[in-house]
Every structure is written in structure tokens, then in C-alpha cells.
């Protein structure tokens, strides 16, 4: 919440959620939701839940949210439902949270792919976790982000990201593709 407010141009104005998707989509840069602190390179051997936990903690820390476990539990609860992993190797854990006004997001780059516990034939190579406001008017933006991230993180970008060694390189790759 904190860092999001630092970038008012990216904040979720109530009107933005009501407008048509294309306008919302055009106004939303995925790279602008990320920063060095929220791009992680988890150590090998971690499972999906552990990566989600690390990302939730980093994202909440960046937004100055103390009770990060509430966020973690919510996203894990969502993970019990229909799968959030795509066959491109992108996993998209997400949750709609009360008490936030904008989107909080982070990325985990997995040098060694980890299996998705719900779909054994799918491997996760990049995880993009995000929280969006639990408000009806924000739902359109929530869906925009799901579509936008899925569209952006195609196998070619995922290959490049997993070859990167620092968060800034990852951010630069995302920015370049979005430009």
C-alpha cells in the first residue's frame, strides 16, 4: 500500500476500474508494479508454497504491511481452488485483499523449474504473485492484470528471465518488452 501510494499515476482510481478494459490495460505497465526488492531468485529445492510465502513476505514488506501472513493465507486459500499455473511455465498466484487501494506485485524467477502440485505435468519457471483491492470496481483491473501478465510472460521472455542473474536485468527485460 505504502509504495503504491508513492506512484499515484499507477494507483487505482475508482473511475479507472469502471472504464473499458483497453483504457485500463493501456494505462497499466506491469514493470511499474515491480522493483528490485520484489524480484526474487528463490533457492533451489523450494516448493510452490514456499516460493509463494517468500514472495508474499517481500511484497508486503515493500508495501509496509506488517501482518503479511493474512495476505499469505489468502493467496494460499485461493491456490486450493482452480489452478493458477499456465503451460507456458508461468504461475500466477493472486488474491483480492481488503485494506489496499492498489496492486501489490512481485516476481520469483526459478532457475530450476518446480512442479505444480495440482498439475503434475506442468512446471513453474516464473511466478508472478499479486494482490489487488477487494472492491467490485477493481475487479476489471484485476482481470486485466491476469490477462496482461499471461500475455507478457510468454516462453521467450521466460527463457530470458530465467537466464538473468539480477533483479534489475529481469526488470529491464520486462520493461523492454512492454515498451
Amino acid at each position: 500500500m505504502g509504495w503504491f501510494q508513492k506512484k499515484p499515476s499507477r494507483s487505482l482510481a475508482p473511475d479507472a476500474a469502471k472504464t473499458s478494459s483497453s483504457r485500463a490495460s493501456k494505462g497499466l505497465k506491469i514493470s511499474s508494479l515491480l522493483c528490485d526488492e520484489t524480484v526474487l531468485f528463490p533457492a533451489e529445492g523450494q516448493d510452490k508454497a514456499a516460493v509463494i510465502e517468500a514472495l508474499a513476505r517481500a511484497v508486503c514488506r515493500r508495501a509496509a504491511i506488517a501482518d503479511w501472513t493474512v495476505f499469505l493465507n489468502k493467496v494460499l486459500e485461493r491456490e486450493q481452488g482452480i489452478s493458477t499455473t499456465l503451460d507456458t511455465g508461468l504461475s500466477l498466484p493472486h488474491a483480492r485483499m481488503d485494506g489496499i487501494d492498489g496492486i501489490l506485485a512481485g516476481v520469483a524467477v526459478l532457475k530450476t523449474p518446480i512442479p505444480d502440485p495440482k498439475q503434475s505435468d506442468l512446471s513453474i519457471r516464473v511466478m508472478f504473485l499479486f494482490f489487488s483491492p477487494n472492491k467490485q470496481e477493481a475487479f476489471s483491473l484485476h482481470l486485466q492484470l491476469l490477462r496482461g501478465v499471461s500475455s507478457l510472460f510468454q516462453p521467450a521472455l521466460i527463457d530470458q528471465i530465467t537466464a538473468a542473474s539480477t533483479p534489475s536485468v529481469v526488470l529491464e527485460l520486462v520493461r523492454k518488452l512492454e515498451a
Binding site: 490477462r147 500475455s151 507478457l152
Partner: protein, 665 residues
């Protein structure tokens, strides 16, 4: 070639349901189909009725054409209740299966005879033209009208057999073209007649009826018509009743009529009424008034040729007019053959859906998706009748109308009974309903039924040929249907749980196949799964503009593992039920749909791939019993983004009773 096994979320098989890709016809097309039968009687009714009842024939013909109005109204009420209506369905719903089988057996007799009398009459006209034109061209050769008409009739039946095997859309286009030519001919004939009347004057037909022993049938011995004056009128009226043939086809084409269905049904009924009245009624009056008595006998079998040759003007011009009348006559009479094949095919389909006809008869033509075996059956019966009648139009005319009148009697009785049995509101009601005791008493319907019954009973005793041949034919078909129904008890048992449509499946390995089926600027995909949860499809059909939007109705069969790869797609019972229901909804609304089934290992990928292959700008779902609408949309947004190749915008809609979520992405 089958794709290699792949861990990704793939669509491996695509099935497009050929038969279900309904295209709907306008009221012009529907009206033209019916008129090809009904208005074609103008070419032979005058001669036949005059032979039977004498010089008053045109007045009774005009009377019958006026009477078409309430009969058409009866069909509007019946069809508004059952999209796949017609006499069989309506009678079965109100009075049970046995009477329904009797009524439809009588109707089949009408259809078989329509094909025969129309095609033979066309042959007679052509033979008449050849025999009048050849001497003028110094060709000393003539044709035997009866032999020629039999050969020509067989050729016409064969031609329309082929057309109907190819499908209704093509044949309805031809019907419109034929009726346009008939319109031109009517204008030319009326204008020329007006000129002739101005030059020579006009003597109105007398009201005198002159019955022959043949036309009085079993009543001839008692001279009953002289003792009871009204009876004579009904006898004469009954002889002219063949002018009403073809009305039942209106109910058969109703399922193919485009939206707004009921409005178009009424328009078609009005078009049929006025066109038949003007053409058949006026032409019969003009023929009686303009053809001199001295030459009338020569033109009994081709009365309109006689009318053409009796106009004022040089002989060569009259010959040209006769050629035009004959040409149009040949076309419309041939069109009547087409109508009879289409109508009887529709009737037999309703019987087959009910398990009365053998299931094998519903087999679809592998290329055209038509019920070719049913068409073959009717065509063989028509050809047999043509050969057996040996070109005798009067014999056919005498036999005719049995099926017409009795199917009307049954239909009116059934609609009347339904007013008492089923008191739910009607979309449209036959007029003259008297409110008393909290119930609308159907006085108009009751009067119509009694009138039709009276005509039917009188015809029964006067038209010997019709009664004997009609009863024999009806009995034959009734026994055939009854035996067939018993043999098909298993099918009938299944039908009691709701009929299942026959589908032609066209299988392909990738989704690009669907592109060939759609050509409109807007594309909309509706995902369906549960036949009892099609609320969203219904809502979409209500507002769909079929002119500008292709509607693809999509379902997926989810398989995992190797079974996905080599699966031969044969629709299972549930899928059959689902698509039958889709087809019913499309027919009810009169909107075109393209149903599609794909085999995949993940439903959201399947929907997304299909929608993107179609180029859909809108994807519609029903409310799921398993997933919340939010989760459905989330998953769809993810797969959409993951598979999207362009930046095209899409709208997702989730529709349920009292629920509608719209998201633009």
C-alpha cells in the same frame, strides 16, 4: 494427421455439427414454398371442378380460397404452440397417438397426390402447347398428352428429388423465383383480360350447379342434393376443396422460419391467403367468363392455355401468351412437387422423432445432411402414382382433397380440444372467443371444426375415388406406422424421455475448420455444458442479430492422457441431448447457430482456443454450479492472455437468472 501427444493444454479434435447449422428462411421464402403448392392448383382446379359441378365452379373455387383464411389462422395458432408442429404433433398432444397416426396417414396421401397431380398437369400443359405450336411451325407431329405428361411428371419428380436431397435452402430460393414469375404472369394475364373484356365484354359465370353421377358418388341414387338444397352447396364446395392443398406445409416450414417467428408466420399466412385468392380465384372466374363454350372442352386439362388462346389479339401473340402461361405453369406445378416432397419429409421427420418410423429412415445424407431415405420413400410413392394414373388428371383430381380435408378436420379438432386441455396463455389465438364463466369459449374454432367436418363427411360420400383410394392409402400407412412403432418400442421408450436430433458430424484436427463455417462481421461464442442450464444461450438468442453476427455454440469434452490423441468423436448420450436442446432453442428463436464440440484436456484452454480461432469479440458463459463467476473469469483471463496472438479486445459475459457480469478485456 493426428498431433503428437503433448503435455500442453490442447484441443485435439474439433467436431462441427453440420445438420445443426440451421439457416432460417424469410416469410417470403416460406410463403413461396406453400404457394407453389396452393397457387399451382389454379392451373388445373378450374377444369376438374367444372367437370364435377358445372358452370358454377369458379364461384365455389373463390369461396374455397376465402375459406383459406380461417384455415391458415388455425395453422398460425397450432404452429405458435409447437415449433415443430403440424397436424401430427398437434393431434397427438390433444387426442393421442392413434388419431395422430390416422391424421398423418391421410396427410401423406395428400402429399403423394400433390406431387403426382402437379407434375402430370405440368406435362399436360406442355403437351397442349406442343400440339398447338407445332402446326403453326409446319411440324406435322403431335404428342399423346397422357403419355407425354407421365414421362414429364417422372422427370420433374426426379429433378426435385435431387434438389431436396441437397437441402431446403436451395429449394426455397427456387420457390421464390417461381412465385416472382407467377406474379409477372398474373399481371400480364389480368391486363390482357381487362383489354379483352373491354373489346368483347364478359359474361359472368352462372350459379348453376350441374352434378354428374360421378360427382355425386353414393348420394347419386337418392338425389339427396335436390331434396336438401344446402347439401348441394356443400357437395359442390367439397369438390372445390382441392384448392387448399399445401397449407400443412406452412406448419412444416415454420421451424425453419427466421425471427421474429410468429410475426413472420402471420405475414406468410397473409401472403399465402391474398396471393392464392387473387390468382386461383380470379383466374378461374376469367377462364369461365372468357373461354367460349364451343372450345372449352378442348382445354379441360389445361384451362389456362384455353384462357390465353381466348384473349383478344393476333394469333401469334396469343400463342406467345400461351407459351408464357405454360412455362410459368410448368415451373409452379413443378414447385408444387417440391413443396410436397419437403412437406412430407417434414411430417415423416416428426413421426421418426417420436419413434414411429424406423430409426434407419432418419439416416442423414453423408454430404448434405438431409433425411434422404424419407425423401426417397415419398418420391417412389409419387412416381408409382404417376405411372398408375396414366396421365388422367380428372382421376387424380377426384382422389385428391381426401387428405387435405381430413387433415384439416383433425387439426381443427385438436386445436379446439387443446383449448380445453391446456389453458395456458397462447401467443396467438384463432379469433371469436366468447368470455363466459371465467373461460374463453372458442366459438370461432368450433364453427371452423364443424364446417370442415361437414365438408369432410359429404366428400366421404360423394367422392368415391377419393374415399376408396384415400381410405386404402390411409389404412396402409396407418398399419405401417403402427407396426413400425411396435418394432421400434425401444426407440419410442427413449423418445419418451425427449427426442434426440440426428446430427452429421464433421471431424477435424484443428480449429481452423470452424473458419469455413462463419462469414459475418461479428462473431460470438457461447460456451455450454449442461442441457438444463442454457439460460445464457436463450438470452443471447433473444437479442442476436443473425444478419450481422455468427453465433458459435461451443462445448468441450475433457479427456486426459493418451485417450485424448486417438479418440474418434462420436457424440455420447449427454452431448446428443445437449445439442438437441441447442437446436430446439435455435429453431424456437429462428436464429442461426453453429454448434461445435471439441475434445481437449482443459476446458478453459478449449474455450479460449475456440473463441480465438473463431475471432469472437464476445464469449458468453452460464453461471457454473462448481465455480464462482470470479474464478471463472480469472481463469479465462489467464488463458486468454496466454494464448492471445493479437491485441484484439474481448468481452466476457456470465449470464444466469438474475445475474449478469460483463467484463471487457
Amino acid at each position: 494427421m493426428k498431433p503428437e501427444p503433448c503435455p500442453g493444454r490442447r484441443v485435439t479434435e474439433v467436431v462441427v455439427l453440420n445438420t445443426a447449422m440451421l439457416t432460417f428462411i424469410s416469410f417470403w421464402h416460406a410463403g413461396a414454398i406453400v404457394l407453389c403448392d396452393m397457387a399451382s392448383t389454379a392451373w388445373y382446379i378450374g377444369g376438374i371442378v367444372e367437370t364435377a359441378i358445372g358452370p358454377a365452379a369458379p364461384w365455389f373455387i373463390v369461396g374455397v380460397m376465402f375459406f383459406a383464411a380461417p384455415v391458415l389462422a388455425l395453422y398460425v395458432e397450432g404452429s405458435s404452440m409447437f415449433v415443430r408442429g403440424g397436424v401430427y404433433k398437434v393431434v397427438r398432444e390433444s387426442m393421442g397417438g392413434t388419431l395422430a397416426k390416422v391424421s398423418v396417414s391421410a396427410l401423406m396421401f395428400d402429399y403423394v397426390l400433390t406431387g403426382a397431380i402437379s407434375s402430370v398437369s405440368a406435362g399436360q400443359y406442355l403437351a397442349g402447347l406442343v400440339n398447338s405450336a407445332f402446326p403453326r411451325l409446319s411440324i406435322h407431329w403431335s404428342v399423346d398428352p397422357k403419355l407425354f405428361s407421365v414421362a414429364f411428371a417422372l422427370a420433374v419428380v426426379a429433378y426435385f428429388w435431387r434438389q431436396n436431397i441437397r437441402g431446403i435452402e436451395e429449394s426455397s430460393d427456387k420457390a421464390v423465383k417461381i412465385m416472382s414469375l407467377v406474379g409477372v404472369m398474373a399481371v400480364v394475364t389480368f391486363a390482357w383480360s381487362a383489354y379483352t373484356i373491354a373489346v368483347r365484354g364478359f359474361h359472368w359465370p352462372s350459379f348453376e350447379t350441374r352434378f354428374t353421377p360421378e360427382s355425386l358418388g353414393w348420394l347419386a341414387s337418392g338425389q339427396w342434393h335436390k331434396r336438401i338444397g344446402l347439401l348441394g352447396l356443400v357437395i359442390a364446395y367439397g369438390h372445390a376443396f382441392l384448392g387448399m392443398s399445401g397449407v400443412e406445409t406452412l406448419a412444416q416450414v415454420y421451424r425453419e422460419m427466421e425471427a421474429p417467428k410468429l410475426v413472420n408466420l402471420k405475414r406468410a399466412a397473409l401472403l399465402i391467403f391474398f396471393s392464392a385468392l387473387v390468382l386461383t380465384g380470379s383466374v378461374s372466374l376469367l377462364a369461365e367468363g372468357l373461354i367460349p363454350d364451343a372450345i372449352r372442352g378442348r382445354y379441360t386439362d389445361n384451362l389456362l392455355s384455353g384462357l390465353a388462346m381466348s384473349m383478344a389479339g393476333p394469333h401469334w401473340a396469343l400463342l406467345l401468351l400461351q407459351a408464357f402461361v405454360v412455362l410459368v405453369g410448368v415451373l409452379i406445378l413443378s414447385g408444387a412437387v417440391n413443396t410436397s416432397i419437403m412437406g412430407s419429409n417434414g411430417v415423416m421427420n416428426r413421426l421418426a422423432e417420436d419413434g414411429i418410423m424406423p430409426e434407419s429412415l432418419r439416416h442423414l445424407h453423408p454430404r448434405f445432411g438431409t433425411t434422404h431415405r424419407m425423401i426417397n420413400t415419398v418420391v417412389v410413392l409419387q412416381a408409382l402414382t404417376i405411372v398408375l394414373c396414366r396421365g388422367d388428371i380428372y382421376l387424380l383430381g377426384e382422389a385428391y382433397a381426401f387428405g387435405v380435408i381430413w387433415s384439416f378436420v383433425f387439426k381443427s379438432a385438436a386445436v379446439l380440444v387443446l383449448r380445453f386441455k391446456d389453458r395456458s396463455p397462447r401467443l396467438w389465438r384463432f379469433p371469436l372467443n366468447l368470455r363466459a364463466g371465467g373461460f374463453d369459449w372458442p366459438i370461432g374454432l368450433a364453427l371452423l371444426f364443424l364446417t370442415l367436418l361437414a365438408i369432410g363427411l359429404v366428400n366421404f360420400t360423394t367422392k368415391k375415388v377419393a374415399t376408396v383410394s384415400g381410405l386404402s392409402f390411409t389404412a396402409f400407412f396407418f398399419v405401417l406406422f403402427t407396426i413400425s412403432e411396435r418394432i421400434n418400442r425401444r426407440v419410442a421408450a427413449r423418445a419418451s424421455a425427449g427426442h434426440q436430433e440426428k446430427f452429421n458430424l464433421r471431424q477435424a484436427d484443428d480449429l481452423s475448420v470452424i473458419r469455413a463455417e462463419i462469414d459475418k462481421p461479428n462473431r460470438l461464442l457461447v460456451a455450454v455444458r449442461d442441457p438444463n442450464n442454457l439460460y445464457h444461450l436463450n438470452k443471447i438468442l433473444e437479442t442476436l442479430d443473425s444478419e450481422t453476427t455468427d453465433l458459435v455454440v461451443f462445448t468441450s469434452r475433457i479427456r486426459t492422457g493418451l485417450g485424448l490423441i486417438d479418440e474418434t468423436v462420436v457424440m455420447d448420450h449427454d452431448e446428443q441431448k445437449l445439442f438437441t436442446r441447442i437446436l430446439e432453442l435455435a429453431e424456437k428463436s429462428g436464429k442461426s447457430v453453429t454448434p461445435m464440440l471439441v475434445v481437449s484436456n482443459e476446458p478453459f484452454y478449449a474455450i479460449t482456443q475456440a473463441a480465438q480461432a473463431v475471432g469472437a469479440s464476445e464469449v458468453v458463459f452460464g453461471v457454473s454450479a462448481k465455480l464462482s463467476t470470479d474464478v471463472q473469469l480469472e481463469r479465462l483471463a489467464m488463458t486468454w492472455g496466454s494464448l492471445q496472438q493479437d491485441k484484439k479486445q474481448v468481452r466476457f459475459r456470465i449470464i444466469g437468472p438474475g445475474v449478469e457480469h460483463v467484463v471487457d478485456l
